[in-house]
Symmetry: C2
Subunit: 391 residues, 2 copies
């Protein structure tokens, strides 16, 4: 804390942190807010202006004498390149510092093609999108990537990802960083979805659990407004929690009775097929639910109950303010949610459910790209990083 | 952050925070560490010396010229009054700022006697213990109390505590504060045990789950080295998570199938009695286990498995670094632990259990009083509170 105050330009980042709430402020207001000398505030504002982190605001404030100039955070100062790579499809975007999507593209892109072809496509797509928005690589302050598997937080490398052949240990940040010339942050897809949903839709919640129900089932956890990764970065892996109704069903992890083996999109599709309604994956299931197929509706509601059973324990243990249900299967909407709510309200403690919100994702399939951008923005706008950027 | 720097004496607390690691430092070292002017450091050190927060250290450091005086945090600057009130017995202590127990007393004290008789006894016992250690009330910097039920964090009042008739909403901090003339902090017993165990035995762990198995079952959660209370302060209530083996057992909470109804001390005692081995409570069960009664050993190991089943889900969800098992039943030691480990290692994900420690409490039945003292110490030694204390 104290060391932040020591260098000659230190503190510009702290000043920018104050302005990030979106409100414009005059020099005098900043002097009052920080307790710093007027000359120090002026010097720091000049640095931030020179580097375009702030702009003079239109709404100059008059206090009797000549109007004072106010300064505001500049959302357009830089752009972030953001990618949400799923098992079979990808969403890529150029996003500004206020998390506004400036350009985006989606594509069918099987992750099992391996790291080099996938990342080559990614660089090409980023380049196209940047051209669309009229930005150059020099305006990119960072790159955020979500991957459908476990990622080592410190290095950004995938670790033993079950559905990503060839990706184990691949140095994604180095590979992309060399080609794009910017900092690259990588995390698993559920973590970035939780970040995106919290930032955009529930910033006031101290605790949020984002549950992705697709082929697999996992969750991203916000604790004290920050991502909770756990001791080994393995937090949130609820797909392999044992549920009693699945006692003898074998899961792809090698264990039996896992939640994913009865409530994942693949499991529901297989059960539907058994009952004579052909379905291959989550999307088929959701389409059948939407078309009103009774068996599909029943099965999806039951899947919601199975997920609810696991979440009921999590509500007692963690006492979140909000549970957000996302992923392909969440697109079946109220039917899944009804099953989840039914079990949570019957099994969790009244004190913990009294004000609990259980909702579907507001960002929908954009949660991942928004979240990957949030991850990058928080990193590059940390006071220390801003201080270094203006040196 | 910046506002901490604004007042004339602000920053004494930040200086003390540096010295709390136990290492003595010279004026010159503190100037270098903080980047503050030598005169500012001197002024702040004088304030801290005047208020006895620091003392000149014996190990004055010579650097060629005349030896420089080093300063160290003074553990004896103040004392904390600490109480762990359980359902049927109490532990009370006078503790210094380094969490050394200076005097303590235990007593049989049924919490159901109600707040006034209990707290009157507490004031009397605190007074006796202070006299024993030769301290006056003016040297008490705060009072920490653990209660066996839910406590509203902001007010320190019990909320609908199931086994504490007469305590609902009782203003414990006000009542004790008037009589003892110090700040009073109250929390539930499992939270303070988690704090104590983390502080004393596992300070390096970012995430720790402390599980108390007694008549009831609950846990205290350390996340990012701080207590995680959850959105309604209800986090950690795992005693009422459904376990499949207990499907039709009625719990005192009114639901069926709760963990506590099959693995709590009362439930195990009742099952033992049914099999012809009379036992009334957790202590009887532990005594039977210690005396080698086979039925008791079998049942306690099975109780460990039931707890392990719930913890296996928590390991997948939360990925803690350490799980600590405490409470009466933990005194049955390896038998409970064996059951817990058996299920966690068979059910949780390899990545999450790879470095997971599963251990019994190191502080044992002192975890509560140490933890209540830690809660108070962290409060009164926060930089802002120290700044206010030296004004």
């Amino acid at each position: 804390m104290l060391s932040e105050q020591s260098g000659p330009v230190a503190g510009a980042g702290a000043l920018l942190a104050i302005l990030r709430d979106g409100q414009a402020r005059t020099r005098a207001e900043l002097v009052q807010l920080t307790g710093l000398a007027r000359s120090t505030v002026s010097q720091r504002l000049d640095l931030l202006l020179n580097h375009r982190w702030i702009v003079p605001a239109d709404d100059a404030i008059s206090s009797g004498g000549r109007p004072a100039v106010a300064f505001a955070f500049n959302h357009a100062a830089r752009v972030v390149l953001s990618a949400d790579l799923g098992a079979t499809h990808a969403r890529v975007a150029v996003i500004d510092l206020g998390t506004t999507v400036l350009a985006e593209r989606t594509a069918d892109l099987p992750i099992e093609r391996g790291p080099v072809p996938t990342l080559e496509w990614l660089v090409e797509t980023f380049t196209d999108l940047l051209a669309e928005t009229g930005h150059g690589l020099d305006q990119v302050c960072g790159v955020g990537v979500g991957l459908p598997g476990p990622v080592e937080h410190a290095s950004g490398r995938p670790i033993n990802p079950p559905i990503m052949p060839g990706w184990d240990g691949f140095p994604v940040p180095d590979w992309l960083g060399e080609r794009l010339g910017a900092t690259v942050l990588v995390d698993n897809d559920v973590n970035i979805m939780a970040l995106g949903e919290h930032w955009a839709a529930r910033p006031e919640a101290d605790q949020l659990v984002f549950v992705k129900i697709g082929t697999g089932i996992g969750c991203g956890i916000i604790s004290d407004r920050r991502l909770h990764r756990g001791a080994q970065g393995a937090a949130g892996d609820i797909g392999h929690v044992r549920v009693s109704s699945a006692a003898d069903v074998v899961c792809r992890c090698g264990n039996t009775g896992c939640l994913e083996a009865v409530a994942g999109g693949g499991a529901v599709a297989a059960r539907l097929t058994e009952t004579g309604v052909p379905a291959e994956n989550s999307r088929d299931v959701v389409n059948l639910v939407r078309s009103g197929n009774t068996q599909a509706v029943q099965l999806i509601r039951q899947a919601g109950r199975e997920v609810g059973d696991v979440l009921a324990s999590i509500v007692n243990f963690f006492n979140p303010a909000v549970i957000v249900i996302g992923g392909d299967i969440a697109e079946a909407g109220e039917h899944v949610l009804a099953g989840v709510r039914e079990v949570i309200y019957s099994r969790s403690l009244p004190l913990a459910t009294q004000h609990l919100g259980i909702r579907t994702s507001e960002l929908g399939d954009r949660a991942g790209v928004i979240g990957a951008a949030v991850m990058v923005i928080e990193h590059v706008l940390s006071p220390g990083a801003v201080d270094r950027s203006v040196r």
